[in-house]
């Protein structure tokens, strides 16, 4: 992978991935069975990684939502199975939140940790591998040797960890949590 893609990938990790759960939840509520949410999400990521530069995108969350909507419309149109309803301005405002980036990020973080305790789900070996490779700069072979395992084992732990992380990201839906809260706790008693 070249340096430009690395840069875009780093931006995706910071500005797009935190919102995947919300985009998925919203897609499901908007479109129900008319589209395959995985398809839409993958196409979103594909479009972003194909961009030469992401410097022009001021708000990753908004970009993600808009891309998802436009892709979903395309897919549904091709399938001719759904009534396509254009989003009204107020519906967009509901989806886009105006909080400062930092606060949103912190909320997402707290929610993820609270619900999943994600770090503790990674195996010890997975964490050790990451520390040795990325923090200390050891090679794959040196890492395996240091941990006393085969290189295959190293890779398997990373695969399992990555799978858990991505599943957690996909299932984290802050908006749905809020909706649930509203249902469970009626407004007047809050």
């Amino acid at each position: 992978m070249n340096e430009q893609q690395d840069r875009v990938t780093a931006w995706i990790a910071r500005e797009i991935v935190p919102h995947e759960g919300a985009v998925r939840g919203w897609l499901l509520r908007q479109w129900r069975d008319a589209i395959d949410v995985d398809d839409v999400i993958q196409e979103c990521y594909c479009r972003i990684i194909e961009l030469g530069s992401i410097a022009h995108i001021a708000n990753g969350r908004a970009y993600f939502f808009r891309s998802a909507q436009s892709i979903a419309i395309d897919i549904a149109r091709r399938r001719k199975t759904a009534n396509i309803v254009a989003m009204t301005e107020s519906e967009w405002l509901d989806v886009m939140d105006e909080e400062p980036l930092q606060d949103r990020a912190l909320e997402a973080c707290q929610s993820l940790e609270r619900v999943n305790g994600l770090l503790s789900q990674l195996t010890l070996t997975c964490r050790q591998v990451i520390e040795l490779r990325r923090v200390e700069g050891l090679s794959q072979r040196e890492t395996a040797r240091r941990l006393g395992v085969s290189e295959n084992v190293v890779e398997n732990h990373i695969v399992r960890g990555l799978r858990k992380i991505l599943n957690a990201i996909a299932s984290q839906d802050a908006d749905a949590d809020e909706e649930e809260e509203r249902r469970i706790v009626p407004p007047q008693t809050r």
Partner: protein, 332 residues
């Protein structure tokens, strides 16, 4: 040795695109890819847009996971909390031969995605940004990262390469003359052998380099023959701007530095010419001893004495003539 690609073909037909992408991303970053694996990955990526999207997502997921682990208390016995506490007082790194100066100028911060901080937090209370994000690299160098910095470390047998994709990082480079230490920020490269310098990202392709101790060679993209040597206290911002569209320039992998370049660290022209002459059939002759005593700084292609001579002629206002297969430089 068992053939490795068997692990990547889906064992069950229901394996999703995301699952395959996860395995490819993990193998690319943490495994070993044989040439046939590379080919298989390229084919898989080329087959479907969703494969490319899933792969980008998986690679981003890896960064998220790495940041989460890096921000948490370390679990490896070699990076323990005691070592962190002692770092400020350690003097065992004798080979720096440089005072570990009061790092007032070193940026402190956390190189992690704030949204995935693992420490438990009371609801509604903002997480305080933790302090120093310092990394011990395997070669003994130390990297201190700003809160939004991101680096990729690749310590090979011939070079030590750091890629800075975001933020700012300061490096205390362990001396290793056999392996140049190169930090890349966008299209800007900063190389040193034993020194302290910081690099920060500027726009998409640029970088700012500040040297605290020692000397650092800085150049951009392919222009290594115009490298600038920065000394302690020196600072340089290079922003080469967007590269030409890929169709116009064939991507060339950079040759290993020590094979392709002659790096001149304010040496005399006489000794520089001698170095070129050691590796080239076309010899450089400096006709005037006075000219031979003048100095030059820069990074030049080792197999291109003509290029070096042109630079000398321009800098020192000299004349260039040919004498048989030799190139002669003399004062005007």
């Amino acid at each position: 040795m068992r053939k490795r690609n068997a692990g990547l073909s889906p064992r069950k037909p229901a394996d999703s695109v995301n699952e395959i992408a996860i395995r490819w991303a993990a193998r690319t970053a943490y495994g070993a890819l044989a040439p046939e694996d590379h080919a298989e990955l390229d084919i898989w990526l080329a087959t479907d847009r969703r494969h490319r999207g899933a792969y980008a997502r998986a690679r981003a997921g890896l960064l998220v996971m790495e940041d989460m682990v890096a921000a948490a208390p370390p679990v490896s016995s070699c990076i323990n909390d005691n070592e962190r506490a002692l770092r400020g007082t350690r003097r065992s790194r004798a080979w720096w031969a440089l005072p570990v100066a009061a790092s007032g100028a070193v940026l402190l911060g956390v190189a992690s995605l704030p949204w995935l901080r693992p420490s438990p937090v009371a609801p509604g209370k903002p997480i305080a940004i933790a302090s120093a994000r310092t990394m011990d690299l395997a070669d003994g160098s130390v990297a201190t990262l700003s809160h939004d910095a991101r680096i990729a470390v690749d310590l090979g047998s011939a070079t030590r390469r750091i890629t800075l994709t975001a933020g700012e990082a300061t490096f205390k480079v362990a001396k290793d003359p056999s392996r140049p230490f190169v930090v890349q920020s966008g299209d800007v490269f900063a190389q040193a052998t034993g020194t302290v310098y910081s690099v920060s990202r500027v726009d998409a392709t640029g970088g700012r380099v500040k040297v605290r101790e020692g000397s650092v060679l800085v150049w951009s993209r392919d222009e290594r023959d115009q490298a600038v040597l920065l000394h302690a206290g020196g600072e340089l911002i290079l922003n080469p701007g967007p590269p030409a569209p890929p169709g116009l320039m064939a991507a060339r992998p950079l040759p290993p530095p020590q094979l392709a370049q002659i790096s001149l660290d304010n040496v005399t022209l006489a000794s520089a010419a001698e170095r070129f002459n050691r590796v080239n059939d076309v010899k450089i002759v400096i006709a005037d001893p006075a000219l031979g005593e003048k100095r030059i700084v820069g990074l030049f292609a080792a197999n291109d004495p003509e290029q070096f001579v042109r630079a000398v002629a321009a800098i020192h206002d000299a004349d260039v003539t040919r004498n048989g297969s030799n190139i002669v430089i003399k004062m005007k």
